[in-house]
Structures are given as C-alpha cells and as structure tokens.
C-alpha cells in the first residue's frame, strides 16, 4: 500500500496523462493501473483536472470551421457508403480500406479512359495514314506511267528530229550538188528484167564520190539473201562500187558508195548478200550512161 502511494506521489501518473512517457514506461503505468484501483482512480482524477482546465480555457473556433471539418470527413463517408459493405464494427477495417480505393481508382480510371481515347485516336490515324499511303501509291503509279509515256514520246520525237535533221542535211547536199557542176547526176533506167525500175546516182568525178539517192529510187525491195550491187563501167569492164539495200523505211536519203574516178556508165545487179566479184548480167535491174 505504501508502495502504491509512493508510486502515485512520484509524479509519473501526471507525466503519463501528459503523454510524456515512452512506450515502455506507459506499459508499466497501465500494468500498475490494472493491478491497483487507486492508481487508476488517481489517473482519472488527473485526467479530469486537465480536461476541466482545458474546458475552462476553451477558445471558440470560427463559425464554419466545424462544417469544413464535417465536409472533409463527410466526403470520405460518402465514398464509403458507395461501397456495398455491411455496417459492422468488424468491417471497419475493410471499409477503411475501401475508403482509400476510390481516391486512387478515380485517377486510375480516368487514365484508362484517356488511354482508350488515345488508342482510338491511334487507330483512326492509322486508317487515315493507310488510305493516304494507298492513294499516294496510286498517284505515284500514274505518275510513273505518264513519265514512261512522255519518255516514249520524247524518244519518238528525238528520232523524228534526228531523221529530219539527216533528211534536211541530205536534201541540202542534193541542192548543193545540183549547183555544183562537178557533181553529175546519172539517171539509171529499168532494163528488160524490170522496165519500171529506176534510180539516180550522183558522181563527183574529181573527188571520186559516188552516192545513191534513196528518195529517187524505185527498185523492188530485196530479201535477206540478196542485195543490190552498184557497178561502174570503166573501159568496158564492171567495177564494184559496193552493195545497198532497198528498204521501205530507210532513214538516209543519200548512201555513200565506193569511190571511182572514172565511169562511162553505172549499173545495178541483184546479187547474193555481200555482193559478187563479177556482176550477174542477167540480174541487172537498172543501167544508165554518164552524159558528158
């Protein structure tokens, strides 16, 4: 009993009520209180005194502070009620847990929502991109086709221009030859073999140039095995001046032949491809004398 009195008078119970003791000391006081009713009574008396003291020193809070607090607590209370959990003291921990979840799931759900929107936007973008790509691919194909057509046209045009240039040069040359007295124009007429056949040979005696005029040629088209061979008759003997083809689409008007410084006449025979050493006389198509 004396021991208990000394314990009470030590002042430790006041420190207990004032929250001044560590966990170990608190447990000791609680053990003493449960063992000795006097200690428990003393603690209660101290508590009541401090409580009264605090109530006597009360300061009324600003109006509205209570509502602010209730609102804060009420908010979590509403969230709690939204959860279908039985109102039981045992469930308090569970509901406390549930109280936390809505706070966290709200941003989580909105995040999912945002992600869904983002996914939909991505898909839409992908579809648009594919359509754009497909149409671009088609356009590119069209453009390529057009370029190919243009190239073809261009090539045709170029070849036409080349052909015309060549023709023009040849024609110019023919005009020059007509004005040049050194150039002789020899007209070859058809023989008994083909009376309708005719052709023209230009000969420059000083320069030894011999040319065949395609534009003024009217010979049957030769086949692959044969070629026409031009001969100059020099001192009664035939001299080879080279072979030529008669084609429907000849690009050149003038064809250069082998040179000869003298000729009394020109003749053309149809020979095997590449020409012969001596003319096959019965295959002579045209012949014409050189007029002096």
């Amino acid at each position: 009993m004396e021991e208990v009195k000394a314990y009470i008078e030590s002042g430790i119970l006041e420190l207990y009520v004032l929250g001044q003791l560590d966990a170990q000391e608190q447990r000791e006081v609680e053990a003493m209180a449960s063992k000795h009713p006097e200690v428990k009574q003393e603690i209660e008396a101290i508590e009541l005194a401090m409580e009264q003291y605090a109530i006597q020193n009360a300061i009324t809070p600003s109006a509205g502070l209570g509502d602010k607090i209730f609102e804060k607590i009420g908010l979590s209370e509403n969230a709690e009620k939204a959860e279908p959990i039985v109102e039981a003291v045992k469930e308090v921990k569970a509901t406390k847990g549930a109280m936390v979840i809505p706070l966290n799931t709200a941003p989580y759900e909105s995040k999912i929502k945002t992600l869904r929107f983002a996914l939909a936007a991505c898909i839409a973008l992908l579809v648009v991109s594919i359509i754009a790509l497909y149409s671009a691919h088609n356009e590119l194909g069209n453009a390529k086709d057009q370029i190919a057509v243009l190239n073809l046209n261009n090539e045709k045009f170029t070849s036409t221009v080349n052909f015309m240039k060549q023709s023009n040069a040849d024609l110019q040359k023919i005009i020059d030859m007509a004005n040049d007295p050194d150039w002789k124009t020899v007209k070859l007429a058809g023989t008994a073999m083909d009376p309708k056949a005719k052709m023209t040979v230009y000969w420059h005696a000083k320069g030894k140039h011999v040319m065949v005029d395609n534009s003024k040629m009217d010979l049957p088209v030769n086949d692959q095995q044969h070629q026409y061979q031009l001969w100059a008759i020099v001192n009664g003997k035939p001299v080879d001046l080279g072979v030529f083809d008669v084609k429907a689409d000849s690009t050149h008007i003038l064809v250069n032949m082998k040179e000869t410084g003298s000729a009394a006449a020109f003749a053309v025979t149809l020979e095997k491809r590449g020409g012969s050493v001596n003319p096959t006389m019965n295959q002579m198509v045209v012949v014409g004398n050189v007029s002096i």
Binding site: S10, L48, I69, T95
Partner: protein, 183 residues
C-alpha cells in the same frame, strides 16, 4: 449537418459511435470539445489561422485513428488532447513554421516562459484567472513548459536547471492545485 443544436453524448456512446464510424460522433465531439482543444492548441501556437488549421487536422486524425483509441488506457479527452498537442508541437518544431514566424520562434529560456505566463493570466475565464494566480509561479512554469510548450520533462529539468525529481514533483503539485480547484 446543418443543425444548430449542440449535440452532447455520454463518453461511452461517443466512443462506440466513433468506433463504428457514425458521423454523429464527430459532430458531438466537435460541439463538446472543439473549444477546449483549440484552447490547448492556441497555448502552443498563437496564430489563430494556424491554430484552426491544426484543430481541423486534429479532428480528422481523431476520426481516422479512432480504432487506436483504447478506453481502458484513459479518457477520450486525454487521447484527443494529446493528439492536438502532438500535432501542434510537431508544427511549431517544423522548419517551415520556424521560418514563417521567426520573430515568434521559441527561445529556450525561462524569460520567454515567464512572458508567456502573461497570456495565461489574460485568460478570459474569471475562474481560471483565479486558479492560475493561485498556482505558485514555480509550479506554473513547469506545467507550462511540459503541457503547452512541448518540452519533455527531461528537457524542462535541464532548462530550469532542476533535478528531474523536482520537475516531476512540481508538475504533480501544479496538477494537484488544479484538482483542488475543480473538484
């Protein structure tokens, strides 16, 4: 919640409703004890705005940690008061509070405590004024430091240059005076 009628419940009812998370408990606690708790907080932190913020924090903590209250270990008010005191002391010792109120920084000397006594004397309640003047100053200083300024009794003993036993005795004597006054 809009009711203006003050709610008052017995301690058993309060505890049971608080633990079953009935919001009526927090309304009753507010009606019954908000003033007393604000009084405790205001003795530690003078700025009304900060004190009221702390009162709000105190009630939220009471509500959220109702589970941890054990009625066998003490009265509900003691538990609430210690929550309010601990939050206030944490606040006054926090860096941001010290920085925001340098001129009101606690100085670890007795003169400051003596100055604080004046506030105590200025308490509106006439009864308290009588009671406080009835307390011997040396008891009052010790109780003030431990109860309102967040000193541990060990720190108080060092601060006042007193043996630990004397500090304990003085705290006891001060509270005995209060008990005499109220009982």
């Amino acid at each position: 919640m809009g009711t203006t009628k003050k709610i008052s419940l017995s301690e058993e009812e309060l505890v049971s409703k608080l633990k079953s998370r009935d919001t009526i408990a927090i309304q009753a606690l507010y009606d019954m004890y908000s003033g007393a708790l604000l009084g405790v907080i205001s003795r530690i932190i003078e700025q009304t705005e900060v004190a009221e913020d702390l009162l709000q924090e105190t009630f939220i903590k009471i509500w959220n940690s109702a589970d941890s209250y054990d009625s066998t270990k003490g009265r509900l008010f003691t538990w609430m008061m210690n929550i309010a005191r601990n939050l206030s002391i944490d606040k006054i010792r926090s860096k941001d509070f010290k920085n925001s109120s340098k001129n009101q920084d606690i100085e670890n000397n007795v003169d400051f405590i003596d100055a604080q006594k004046e506030v105590t004397f200025n308490a509106d309640t006439l009864g308290i004024k009588d009671m406080v003047t009835a307390l011997k100053p040396e008891f009052n200083d010790v109780l003030n430091m431990v109860y309102f300024k967040g000193y541990t009794h060990v720190e108080t003993a060092e601060e006042l240059n007193l043996p630990l036993g004397t500090v304990k005795t003085r705290i006891r004597m001060a509270i005995m005076e209060l008990r005499k006054h109220f009982n």
